[in-house]
Amino acid sequence: MKISVRLLLAVIVMAVGLVVLLGFFIDLPVLSVLRSVFLRWAVILAAVAMLVGLFNLAAVHWRKMGSRQPGSFYSAVLLISMVVTLVIGLFFGPTSTWSLWIFNYIQVPVESSLMAVLAVVLAYASVRLLNRRINLFSIVFLATALLILVGTATIPGLEAPGLTELRAWITQVPAAGGARGILLGVALGTIATGLRVLIGTDRPYGG
């Protein structure tokens, strides 16, 4: 019975995947209709998964708080914040003054602070890179990053001649060429991964 359920899951995934893929390339009304129906189902499933994910988040932190693991105080803060936000969202709506206040005065500043921390982390990491992995590529990487930074945010009165042009050349020629090469590789990897799921050799859904 278990095997037949798994087989059924694999068949459903393959059939739906094939219809969506063909609908992308072939402009047949029946494929377009089926494709849009499946995509709408996917959106509904994602919304249900969001609810399940919220329960998962709450359960993880509830357990952490209950077993008094390190950082359980922060888990309590998270759970209280989650309940307060949920209650405000449900009673007043997601675009109410209170909901927007939470977003503008708590979430945005906290995430902006993390971004500021990230700037420090990256500056520190670039120095550490020279300790950890000193080779030609690391030196080129750091030198390029510095050139782009200095070329983008020039200090008044200290503009070196040709720096802006050099920055533009680096971003438009070698960086753009390298990025396109990497993106082609990523695209090929993504197609390969998709095809493996489509033919059922990769089955993260448990089929």
């Binding site: 893929l21 063909l22 992308f24 390339f25 072939i26 402009d27 047949l28 996917a42 959106v43 499933l45 994602a46 998964a49 969001m50 399940v52 994910g53 919220l54 998962n56 988040l57 359960a59 993880v60 357990r63 693991q69 390190p70 950082g71 922060y74 979430q107 906290v110 995430e111 993390l114 921390v117 990230l118 982390v121 990256l122 520190y124 990491a125 670039s126 950890r132 990487f141 990025a179 090469g181 990497i182 993106l183 082609l184 590789g185 990523v186 090929l188 990897g189 993504t190 197609i191 390969a192 991964t193 998709g194 095809l195 493996r196 033919i199 050799t201 990769d202 993260p204 859904y205 448990g206």
Partner: protein, 255 residues
């Protein structure tokens, strides 16, 4: 030659590309069965991951797989699926550990799939008792909240190796830095270019470009993973040829 109305030239080209890709995968899978054991080039990150799994099991420490904040409905789903393959291989290899691996993600669908992956892996090897539904967890639903929610997992759960495999933004620097500070091995790859640049500076073992997509082949996830890697190599050379031919034709004034 006139194409049928339902088929555009771009659509036909795309379909042909997919069919050729699929054909190559099948061909290499079949030829791989006849000539097994063809060597892949060494990628130090995967060699170190194998050792890290063994050390984690011996030391009773945990392995952490971070699946990123990309959704399954978008283009970034490919990297998340690769992350799930890595999770499956790690869970299998570390199944005898007292502390089974933990997976964090910023997308609820990916989190559900990570639970399913762990559940199936433990069931397949007869270790269903190891399965903990909360080992596949959502850490946060925006990129920065995901990063913030992942940091305590690295700091507080005695993690000896962190694998970052999925879609990230520049916030991945915070996660990689946390791994470095806690003394764990950080092996990381992403489909996103800014994240790759950040990981090059912050991760101990960065996976550059499409190396992330080779994970399954290096972690022995099955012959189709090696076959798809070989198909990618062939098509990469075809694309190189097409780009060079296009550049030459443009230079000569034909385009």
């Amino acid at each position: 030659m006139n194409l049928p109305s339902f088929l555009s030239p771009a659509g036909l080209l795309g379909l042909a590309f997919i069919l050729v890709f699929f054909g190559l995968m099948i061909f290499f899978a079949a030829s791989g069965r006849k000539q097994p054991g063809r060597a892949l080039r060494t990628i130090s990150a995967f060699a170190r991951l194998g050792r890290a799994v063994g050390l984690a099991v011996e030391a009773g420490r945990r392995l952490h797989v971070s699946l990123g904040s990309g959704s399954l409905n978008g283009l970034e789903s490919g990297s998340a699926l690769v992350g799930l393959t890595i999770l499956q291989r790690i869970a299998r290899a570390a199944s005898i550990s007292d502390r089974p691996p933990v997976a964090t993600s910023g997308d609820t669908l990916v989190a559900l799939l990570s639970q399913e992956t762990l559940h199936n892996t433990y069931s397949a090897i007869g270790a269903s008792g190891q399965y903990d539904p909360l080992a596949g967890q959502v850490s946060g639903l925006t990129p920065f909240s995901y990063a913030a929610g992942t940091l305590p997992v690295i700091y507080d759960q005695q993690v000896s190796a962190t694998v970052l495999a999925g879609h990230f933004g520049s916030e991945v620097g915070l996660i990689a830095d946390a791994g470095e500070r806690s003394g764990s091995l950080v092996l990381a790859g992403s489909d996103n270019l800014p994240a790759q640049a950040v990981l090059y500076a912050t991760a101990e073992e960065p996976l550059i470009g499409e190396e992330l997509y080779a994970s399954g082949a290096y972690l022995h996830a099955g012959p189709m993973h090696i076959a798809s890697l070989r198909a990618q190599d062939v098509l990469r050379w075809v694309l190189v040829g097409v780009i060079l031919a296009g550049a030459a034709l443009k230079l000569l004034g034909f385009l």
